[in-house]
Amino acid sequence: DAGVTQSPTHLIKTRGQQVTLRCSPKSGHDTVSWYQQALGQGPQFIFQYYEEEERQRGNFPDRFSGHQFPNYSSELNVNALLLGDSALYLCASSGDRDYEQYFGPGTRLTVT
């Protein structure tokens, strides 16, 4: 049973560029959440997708957007990248019967 998978593992982008990160949830899970973990900090909630719609959102600007596909996989898009967007981006999935969320290995984004 595959857990949560994310791609790519690492990514280097330049300021002003756009980036797309991908996530496949754990088998049987239909809800995907995205978190940003800056160096030395705890993860911060970006948004959550359920039934292909954004269900809730944290305190992140509109440059951060997402999508969920019919197979429950999800994308996180960040436009007009800033140096401060450099972080580990974590995807987490959960199902109807779960209280906890299960995390993927993350994508390390470096903006230069």
């Binding site: 809800t31 909630f45 809730q56 995390f103 993350g106």
Partner: protein, 113 residues
């Protein structure tokens, strides 16, 4: 607003000694509480949760945590630490009707052989 405090940046403990990682929280109502562990260049691994019932919950790898409602705390414990327990530990809270986690800043645990 919800917040989680993990007051110590780093916890050093000798192998075989008891390990405690502290967590206090501030959130309305009775939240769900969690501990996660993160190894270098890895995502977060779920350790244990408190939902309701017995204040002492047991989790993976010999870890347990004690919920104290009056002190709004949820401290993580292990009776005998292993060198392999060296990692970054995060406490998280989740309001009952909202499926989103708020994390503390994390505690680096160093187990000394």
């Amino acid at each position: 607003a919800q917040s989680v405090a993990q007051p110590e940046d780093q916890v050093n403990v000798a192998e075989g000694n008891p390990l405690t990682v502290k967590c206090t929280y501030s959130v309305s109502g009775n939240p769900y509480l969690f501990w996660y562990v993160q190894y270098p260049n890895r995502g977060l691994q779920f350790l244990l949760k408190y939902i309701t019932g017995d204040n002492l919950v047991k989790g993976s790898y010999g870890f347990e945590a004690e919920f104290n409602k009056s002190q709004t705390s949820f401290h993580l414990k292990k009776p005998s630490a292993l060198v392999s327990d060296s990692a970054l530990y995060f406490c998280a809270v989740r309001p009952k009707r909202v499926d989103r986690l708020a994390f503390g800043k994390g505690n680096q645990v160093v187990v000394i052989p």
